[in-house]
């Protein structure tokens, strides 16, 4: 059995996760990275994506992360996310609609559309749906 490390996912609204886990895989801005106990101290920004972790019982769990930062210490991982959702909290209907809306906006390519924002919205929606 692998040694445990502590995972904390905090958002401005509340702490989403605060428990012992076996491993964590997070979407770093320079690429995905995995963490086991004893990882070197490490600080990175995160992009929109999926945080995957194996809880104390060895069960795989998934979280949607809306960008943020991760601090890795040998026995602890802290994720600071602007928002995060557990799989059961994701609203599929809303995500699907958001995806369609964003796709439409990107396809239209009107001059007044904020492309960066539309792309971010699309990415968020796609990742939400993928987790579900």
């Amino acid at each position: 059995m692998a040694e445990k490390l502590f995972l904390e996912v905090v958002t401005p609204q509340k702490a989403i996760v605060s428990e012992e886990v076996e491993s964590v895989v997070a979407p770093g801005s320079e690429g995905e990275f995995g963490v086991l106990k004893g990882h070197t101290t490490f600080l990175t920004s995160l992009k929109i994506g999926t945080l995957q972790y194996k809880d104390a019982k060895g069960k795989e769990r998934y979280l949607f992360i809306n960008g943020g930062f991760a601090e890795v210490l040998p026995d602890k991982v802290t994720i600071l996310a602007e928002s995060a959702e557990r799989r059961q909290d994701i609203d599929v209907g809303r995500a699907t609609k958001a995806k369609e809306r964003a796709e439409k906006r990107l396809a239209e390519k009107r001059e007044d559309t904020d492309l960066v924002r539309a792309e971010a919205a699309l990415r968020r929606a796609v990742h939400r749906l993928k987790i579900k």
């Binding site: 958002t11 401005p12 609204q13 801005s29 101290t41 600080l43 920004s45 930062f69 601090e71 600071l80």
Partner: protein, 300 residues
């Protein structure tokens, strides 16, 4: 002297007022609890963020981000004014507004000022002063709001600052100290004041906790790039924090002012009741005198 009927109806109306104020107090109490909870929930995020920010700020140079550089000549200033949407909370809004007014008339005298108003009261005041209102957010303070409110308005400010349409940004909000004490506070958020204080504070905290400094982090991307990404977030955090504190203060202020009003109603009712009793007695005495006088007259 007022007639019995008049006094009676006055008592009834004051009693009704008391009912309303005490109900408002109860509403404010429960909202206050909610606001305090969200303030508590925000704390772990804010403190962790400050800690991480401090540890990389120490490593990065002054020129890590354009947000740190003060302008040589400050002409245009943006003021974020946090007030409540609704009144009946004592001097809460007046205090905040006079704080902002003083700032404008002293330090910022002669500069071009634009407002970003959270809350109706502050907006109405800015309108009356015929100051330009850049942005207004109603229904945020005192209600339930999300972090995205702070980040979207903060992002706009940062864009304006980088584009040069704004040289300095100040935040006026009410700091929540405890139930009875909330202080109108001014904070400069752009350009970001020196980070030295932040890094020292958090370094000490880390030392206390582990008995030693945290080892150097490996940063990805570079620590400067990371800092550049974190600084705007830090501004959002400050705005969000200010909104939370203002909301909490608003409910606390309303609660205490409604409690005072309820008490005052009680006092008035007592006074009116005394008047009522006295008037009633005077009436009875007068009636008795009449009867006795009449009886005496009949006796001859």
């Amino acid at each position: 002297m007022a007639t019995l009927k008049e006094v009676k109806s006055k008592i009834v109306s004051v009693k009704k007022t008391r009912q309303i104020t005490s109900a408002m107090k109860m509403v404010a109490t429960s909202r206050l609890r909610g606001a305090q909870n969200s303030m508590e929930a925000f704390k772990p995020y804010a403190s962790k963020f400050a800690e991480v920010l401090g540890s990389i700020a120490g490593k990065s140079g002054e020129d890590a981000s354009p947000l740190l550089v003060p302008r040589d000549e400050v002409k245009k200033v943006a003021l974020i004014l946090c007030t409540s949407d609704r009144g009946l909370c004592g001097g809460f809004n007046t205090n905040l507004i006079s704080k902002a007014d003083k700032l404008i008339k002293s330090e910022l005298d002669g500069k071009q000022i634009s407002f970003i108003c959270f809350g109706k009261k502050g907006r109405d005041w800015a309108k009356k002063q015929s100051q330009p209102i850049e942005d207004e957010f109603i229904g945020v303070v005192g209600g339930n709001f999300e972090f995205s409110v702070a980040s979207s308005s903060g992002q706009k400010l940062i864009d304006n600052f980088l584009a040069g349409t704004v040289d300095e940004v100040y935040l006026v909000y009410s700091e929540f100290i405890n139930m009875a004490k909330h202080i109108p506070t001014i904070k400069q958020i752009l350009p970001i004041p020196s980070l030295d204080g932040v890094s020292e504070g958090s370094a000490e905290k880390e030392k206390d906790k582990d008995g030693q400094f945290l080892p150097e982090h490996i940063c990805e991307p570079s620590s400067d790039a990371l800092l550049g990404e974190m600084l705007p977030k830090n501004i959002f955090i400050q705005i969000y924090d200010a909104l939370l504190q203002t909301s909490t203060s608003e409910h606390a202020a309303r609660m205490s002012s409604m409690e005072n009003a309820t008490k005052a109603c009680g006092d008035i009712i007592e006074e009116l009741q005394t008047i009522y009793n006295k008037t009633r007695q005077a009436g009875i005495t007068a009636d008795l005198m009449d009867i006795v006088g009449g009886a005496e007259a009949l006796k001859g």
